[in-house]
C-alpha cells in the first residue's frame, strides 16, 4: 500500500489523474484543508497512521498535527466533539473507521447533529461532515460490513451521501464540507481500491441532493447507490447482451431525496428494481419503493421489486458472505421477474 502514488498529487498537477476512490477522497480532504482554515480532520488512527484505509495519508504531514489528528477511541466523543467544533464555526470532518462503529455515536447523531438547527431556529448550526466506510464484499472481520444508511436517513436534519466512485466522491466530499448542514458520507469499502477513474486535479463540487441517470435504457430502471451502482451497471451490461435495455439511476444523495429524477426515469421505463446491500426489511429501499409506487403508480407496468441483503445480520462467515450482498445475478433475476409482468 505504501507503493501507491501520494494521493494528493497536487504538486505535480496534471489536469486529470487516474485515482482510486480512496485517493480521490484523500485529495478532496487535502484541498479542503488547504483552502479553508476552519477544516479539521480527526478520528481514530487518522493522524500519524493516515487512516485504516489510508484516506488521510500524508495529510498530517502536510497540514500539521493541529489540523489532522487522532482522537481517543470513543465514537460518541468524536461525534459530540465534532458538534462542538461545528458550533464554534469550524468545519470539522470526522472519520468513523467503519459504519458499524457509528452506533455508539448515534445518540449524538439523533439527539443533536440533525436537530440543532431546528431546535435553535437556525441560531446554531452543525456543518459537520462524518465519513465512514460501509458495506461488505471484501472479507472484513465481523461487524465491519454494516450498511446503516437507513438509520441516518430517518433522522431529519442530516444529509446522507453515498458516492459510487472516485470522480463523484471527490466532488461530493468537497460539496459536503462546504455544506451548511451535517452530511454523512458513506464510502463503500468495496470501491476504495477496486478501480481507478480519471479525476480532475482541481477542486470541484458536485451538487448534493441530485440523483443521476448513469446509464440510459427503456425497459426498466435500476435504482441504487454506492457499492451497488457497479453491480447494477454490470447487470445492465449483461441484460444489454440479451437486447434488454436497463436504465440505472444512482441515487447518490439519500436525503434530501431527489424524487424527480427517480420518478422521471421510472415513468419512462414503467418498471423499477431498487437495490441495496443493507438488509431488506427497514432498509432505505422501502422508502424509495414506496415513493415510486405512490407517485408513479399510473405508469407502473410491474410491481417495484427490491434486491437487498437478506433479513439477517451481515454474515461474519467468510465462505457464505458473498451470498448476502446482492450481485448482478440476483439483480437480473428480479429484472426478469419484473419484465414478465
Amino acid at each position: 500500500m505504501a507503493s501507491e502514488a501520494p494521493a494528493g498529487a497536487v504538486q505535480e498537477n496534471p489536469a486529470v489523474a487516474q485515482l482510486t476512490m480512496v485517493q480521490a477522497i484523500n485529495q478532496a480532504l487535502d484541498q479542503a484543508l488547504a483552502s479553508d482554515d476552519r477544516v479539521l480532520v480527526f478520528g481514530e488512527d487518522v493522524g500519524v497512521m493516515g487512516g485504516v484505509f489510508r484516506a488521510t495519508d500524508g495529510l498530517r504531514d502536510r497540514h500539521g498535527a493541529h489540523r489532522v489528528y487522532d482522537t481517543p477511541l470513543a465514537e460518541s466523543g468524536i461525534m459530540g466533539y465534532g458538534v462542538g467544533l461545528a458550533l464554534a464555526g469550524m468545519r470539522p470532518v470526522a472519520e468513523i473507521q467503519f459504519a458499524g462503529f457509528l452506533y455508539p455515536a448515534l445518540d449524538q447523531v439523533l439527539s443533536h447533529v440533525g436537530r440543532y438547527r431546528h431546535r435553535t431556529r437556525g441560531r446554531f448550526t452543525v456543518p459537520l461532515v462524518v465519513r465512514a466506510a460501509y458495506g461488505g464484499g471484501v472479507h472484513t472481520p465481523e461487524q465491519h460490513a454494516d450498511s446503516p444508511e437507513a438509520i441516518l436517513a430517518q433522522a431529519p436534519g442530516v444529509k446522507v451521501v453515498v458516492p459510487a466512485g472516485p470522480e463523484r466522491a471527490k466532488g461530493l466530499l468537497l460539496a459536503a464540507i462546504d455544506d451548511p448542514d451535517p452530511v454523512f458520507f458513506l464510502e463503500a469499502i468495496k470501491l476504495y481500491r477496486s478501480s481507478r477513474e480519471p479525476v480532475p486535479a482541481e477542486p470541484y463540487r458536485h451538487a448534493i441532493g441530485k440523483a443521476r441517470v448513469v446509464r440510459e435504457g427503456d425497459a426498466l430502471t435500476l435504482v441504487c447507490y454506492g457499492g451497488m451502482v457497479e453491480v447494477c451497471l454490470k447487470a445492465a451490461d449483461v441484460a444489454a447482451r440479451d437486447g434488454v435495455s436497463l436504465e440505472v439511476v444512482d441515487v447518490e444523495t439519500l436525503v434530501p431525496f431527489d424524487e424527480e429524477t427517480v420518478l422521471g426515469s421510472v415513468r419512462k421505463t414503467g418498471r423499477a428494481v431498487v437495490v441495496h446491500e443493507a438488509a431488506r426489511t427497514g432498509g432505505f429501499g422501502g422508502e424509495i419503493a414506496a415513493r415510486i409506487a405512490e407517485h408513479a403508480f399510473y405508469d407502473l407496468l410491474a410491481p417495484v421489486a427490491r434486491v437487498a441483503g437478506w433479513d439477517a445480520p451481515y454474515p461474519p462467515f467468510t465462505s457464505v458472505e458473498h451470498h448476502y450482498r446482492p450481485d448482478a445475478a440476483r439483480v437480473l433475476a428480479a429484472v426478469r421477474q419484473a419484465l414478465l409482468s
Partner: protein
C-alpha cells in the same frame, strides 16, 4: 477526608479570610437573589399554565451563579435543563428564558451575541460539545473558556467519561462543574455510584479536581475563578464538584413524596445558599432589610417586564415545524410546508 472548599458556614459566618471585597459579594448576592426570584415566579407561571414543564433550581443558586460569575463576556456556558440561574447570570434575557420554558420558538433562538448553548435534555450529551467548543477556542487562540454543567446522575453516562477524557487529552480550556445535588430524579447519589466523591474521578483523567461547598457562593466563585484562569492560561480542564442539594421537586411534574422524606428536605433548607450569603453580608453591615426590599421591587419589575415581552411574542405558524430543518428547505419540507398552510 473533608477537603471541601468552604469560606462561609451554613449559618453565614466567615470561616476564613474572604478572597473578595464586599462590593463584589453584594453584586453576587443580587445575582443569586435575582435567580431565586426568577425560580419562584416561574413556578407560579407554570401553575397558571403559562410555562411548560419547568425544572426548578431552588437550592442551587450559589453553585450556578458562582460558576457563571467566574466567566468573562466572551466565555461560553453549556447548561443542562437545570441551569436557568447560570444562564440568566451569563446574560440570557429573562424573556428568552421564559419563552424557552414556555416551549416557544422565540425563546430557542438565542440572541446572536449570547454565548450560551441551548438547555440540554439528553443527559451528559452536552459535555463533548463543550470540549469541541473549548478546543476550537484554543486552536484559534481566542482565549474563550467554556463552562460545562452536568448533574451527579449525568456523570454515569458514557458521554461524561468520553468528554472528560477528550478534554484532558486535548488540554481544552473547559471547566466541568458537577452539581452534586444528591438526586437524579428519585435516585440518590449513593445508588448512582459507589464512591460518591465525584471529585475522585479527576485524577484518573489527569486533571485537577476540586470539591467545593456549592451552597457557599464565596467558595464557589473562588474555586471557579481559579479553574477558569487555569483554563484560560493553557492549564487545561478542571473538574469541580459542587456539593449542593435539590430542594425542589425534579421538575414541576415531579412528586418527590414518592421517593424522599420531606423532613430531610426541610433540614436541607437550613443550608440553602441565598440566606447564607445574606446572613454574611448582613453581619458585615453590607446588606439590610431595606436593601432587600428595594432589590425585590426591582426584580419584580424586571420580571413583569420580561413576562410582558414574552407574552408579546407572536405565535409560530404550523409551517414553522418544517423550517430550519436544513439551511434551505428540501423538497420534502417544501411539500410539508405547503400542506401546513405555508406562510
Amino acid at each position: 477526608m473533608d477537603d471541601t472548599v468552604r469560606y462561609v458556614s451554613e449559618s453565614g459566618e466567615r470561616l476564613s479570610e474572604l478572597p473578595f471585597g464586599v462590593d463584589e459579594l453584594v453584586s453576587a448576592y443580587r445575582a443569586m437573589r435575582r435567580a431565586r426570584h426568577f425560580d419562584d415566579r416561574a413556578v407560579t407561571l407554570q401553575r397558571q399554565g403559562r410555562l411548560g414543564v419547568y425544572p426548578l433550581f431552588r437550592g442551587q443558586e450559589a453553585a450556578q451563579v458562582g460558576a457563571a460569575l467566574a466567566l468573562s463576556e466572551g466565555d461560553w456556558l453549556v447548561p443542562t435543563y437545570r441551569e436557568t440561574a447560570a444562564a440568566i447570570t451569563h446574560g440570557m434575557p429573562l424573556s428568552t428564558a421564559l419563552l424557552y420554558w414556555r416551549a416557544h420558538p422565540a425563546g430557542w433562538s438565542f440572541p446572536e451575541d449570547l454565548r450560551i448553548l441551548p438547555f440540554y435534555v439528553p443527559i451528559a450529551t452536552q459535555l463533548p460539545h463543550a470540549v469541541g467548543l473549548a478546543h476550537a477556542s484554543a486552536l484559534r487562540r481566542e482565549g474563550a473558556v467554556v463552562l460545562a454543567f452536568v448533574g451527579d446522575g449525568g456523570t454515569s453516562e458514557g458521554d461524561a467519561h468520553e468528554a472528560l477524557n477528550f478534554a484532558a487529552v486535548f488540554m481544552a480550556p473547559v471547566v466541568f462543574v458537577v452539581q452534586n445535588n444528591g438526586w437524579a430524579i428519585s435516585v440518590p447519589t449513593e445508588r448512582q455510584m459507589r464512591n460518591t466523591r465525584i471529585v475522585d474521578r479527576a485524577v484518573g483523567y489527569g486533571m485537577p479536581g476540586v470539591r467545593v461547598d456549592g451552597n457557599d457562593l464565596v467558595a464557589m466563585l473562588q474555586v471557579m475563578r481559579e479553574a477558569v484562569d487555569r483554563a484560560r492560561t493553557g492549564g487545561g480542564p478542571t473538574l469541580v464538584e459542587a456539593m449542593t442539594y435539590r430542594l425542589a421537586p425534579h421538575t414541576t411534574s415531579d412528586d418527590p413524596g414518592r421517593y424522599r422524606d420531606g423532613a430531610q428536605t426541610e433540614e436541607r433548607e437550613r443550608s440553602e445558599p441565598v440566606s447564607r450569603l445574606r446572613a454574611l453580608l448582613t453581619s458585615q453591615g453590607a446588606w439590610s432589610e431595606e436593601a432587600e426590599q428595594e432589590l425585590l421591587e426591582e426584580l419584580k419589575a424586571e420580571f413583569d417586564e420580561a413576562v410582558a415581552q414574552a407574552d408579546a411574542a407572536p405565535e409560530p405558524t404550523p409551517g414553522s415545524i418544517v423550517e430550519h430543518v436544513y439551511a434551505s428547505m428540501g423538497p420534502d419540507q417544501s411539500r410539508a410546508w405547503e400542506a401546513l398552510g405555508g406562510e
